[in-house]
């Protein structure tokens, strides 16, 4: 692995993995605790429509994905706020329509010869330095936004109604969260591709949630796990000449199953405090 670092593409790949890890660890934490994994999947896949648009009209694919996934995220946020019962169906439809649109637009694009697989499964080994800068900027923006609204986002995630009663602008924050998911999707498509984004968003927070005392800790552990997954995945990819995105996901998935196994072996420490509840005394 060390000798691989002499190649610029390898250094870039590791940096891209690191930057994507920060993004996915932070945003994935909110995705998991808010149970919006399905919406995130929808945004990630519908983003393919943005790739189609970009190629068809000949603008930068990043702009295409960014614009389109932000639009899809806004629609999905609106739908899930408005009609909660049927939201999953509509999200599923948008998910499929976005992908279909992308495929058809690419069919219609003359002389199209871009490797479709690289968008579906990522191409971390070909991340140019200019993209790293963009990723760094997006990371910075997201970290700043999340730290500014941290307590609001926590209260929205834990108890939306209570937050609303306390005057937290929950609807605006929900849209903001969706926009940040869209941004993370755009970023991570480079690293693991849009099919596999969901793994980096969900697996580390799922594992971290069990031993974290706060969302901040959960984000921290998730970022660390993501760094571990992307680095080890890259090493497998380099050593055994495997597709990088899929290798990263397999490392993450292995840890995911190990964590579930460990949870089974070590039963929860819950219930230990049991019935020793002190009574409330009035007149204190």
């Amino acid at each position: 692995m060390l000798e691989a670092l002499q190649f610029e593409f390898m250094r870039n790949a590791l940096l891209a993995g690191l930057l994507a890890s920060i993004m996915c660890g932070v945003i994935g934490t909110f995705v998991v605790v808010n149970r919006i994994v399905f919406i995130s999947g929808g945004i990630a896949h519908a983003a393919y429509g943005g790739i189609g648009l970009a190629f068809f009209f000949g603008f930068s694919y990043l702009m295409g994905i960014l614009g389109f996934s932000l639009l899809v995220a806004a629609i999905m946020a609106a739908v899930s706020l408005k009609t909660r019962q049927r939201a999953d169906t509509i999200i599923g439809v948008l998910w499929a329509v976005g992908m279909a649109l992308g495929v058809i637009l690419l069919d219609l694009t003359p002389g199209y010869n871009v490797d479709l697989m690289s968008y579906l499964f990522g191409s971390i080994l070909t991340v140019p330095t200019s993209d790293l800068w963009l990723m760094l900027i997006i990371d910075g923006l997201v970290v700043l936004t999340v730290s500014y609204f941290y307590h609001d986002l926590v209260s929205l995630s834990y108890d939306e109604e209570f937050a609303q009663v306390r005057g937290v602008p929950t609807k605006i924050l929900y849209f903001l969260l969706m926009a940040m998911i869209a941004l993370s999707v755009v970023m991570v498509i480079q690293v693991v591709g849009l099919i596999l984004v969901i793994a980096l968003l969900t697996i580390p927070p799922y594992i971290s949630e069990k031993f974290s005392g706060s969302l901040l800790e959960m984000m921290f552990y998730s970022v660390m796990l993501n760094v571990f997954f992307t680095t080890v995945g890259l090493w497998f990819s380099y050593t055994f000449n495997l597709t990088s995105g899929a290798s990263i996901i397999m490392v993450a998935a292995t840890c995911f199953f190990i964590s579930i196994l460990l949870e089974r072996l070590w039963p929860k420490r819950r219930r230990r405090l049991g019935n020793s509840i002190p009574p409330i005394r009035a007149g204190k």
Partner: protein
């Protein structure tokens, strides 16, 4: 009335998916009232509460809290939602849950100040949960969690306290303690509680609102036969003071 009302509801109508839930509700709640909101399931009790909290918008009519919209009055409202055990896996400590009650909305780098933390401690001590402050909220029992939610409502020093089925997951002893605390708070705070347990409630409340699409307000701590019949649309019999009602056999045939 000497003092101006805490809550005024005027000609309020609310429907959900085209089905009327509340019709022409008029309700005036005065300071230091202890109001029990009762009624059949699906009668609109929780909906009425959420309208007064500003969580729902009425189709018609107005809700005024201290003469303002519920949203503007947010600072003087305390809310204890129903404990239905959602989000148990959420990584958050008891203390952080209580601090949420000090939220003032709208971002900020440093949210919780020294006074916030002191208030959180006092609120937790008041419900005897301070020693659990570092626990994850999901590790507590339903009754303990309910007390933490109580502390979260109290930490904002509310002038009105809304409670939705606050003792649903609390045992008999816990319920009595809980209502004793409410009674004590009621010396300064208006309390509005949605509940089934009329038995426990009857010794604390000052007025009753029966909700069953319409709202019947009774400015006395007793539940009359007329109210129950109007609210439940069935012939009832009051067995003893505080006992809700018994449906007479002649009505039970379907």
């Amino acid at each position: 009335m000497v003092s101006s009302p805490v809550i005024e509801v005027h000609g309020l109508w609310f429907s959900f998916n085209g089905n009327p839930v509340l019709e022409d509700v008029n309700l005036t709640i005065h300071p230091r009232d202890f109001l029990a909101v009762i009624g059949p399931n699906g009668g609109g009790k929780t909906t009425l509460l959420k309208l007064m909290l500003g969580l729902l918008e009425p189709d018609r009519g107005t809700v005024r809290v201290f003469g303002h919209s519920p949203r503007e009055a947010a600072g003087s409202i305390g809310y204890v939602p129903q404990e239905i055990g959602i989000n148990k896996g959420f990584p958050i400590s008891v203390r952080d849950v209580v601090l949420m009650g000090r939220m003032r909305g709208g971002g900020g780098w440093r949210r919780f100040s020294g006074p916030d933390k002191i208030a959180a401690r006092q609120a937790l001590e008041r419900v005897e949960m301070w020693e659990y402050r570092k626990r994850r909220i999901g590790e507590l029992s339903g009754g303990q969690r309910q007390r933490v939610f109580m502390a979260r409502a109290l930490v904002g020093e509310p002038k009105i306290l809304f409670l939705d089925e606050p003792t649903a997951s609390v045992d008999q002893k816990g319920q009595t303690d809980f209502y004793a605390l409410l009674k004590e708070l009621n010396e300064n705070v208006t309390v509005i509680v949605v509940s089934h347990d009329l038995m426990v409630l009857s010794s604390y409340i000052k007025s009753v609102a029966c909700v069953s699409q319409q709202v019947f307000f009774h400015d006395a701590p007793e539940i009359t036969k007329d109210m129950l019949e109007m609210a439940y649309h069935c012939p009832v019999e009051l067995i003893a003071h505080g006992v809700p009602h018994r449906v007479l056999p002649k009505h039970s045939g379907e």
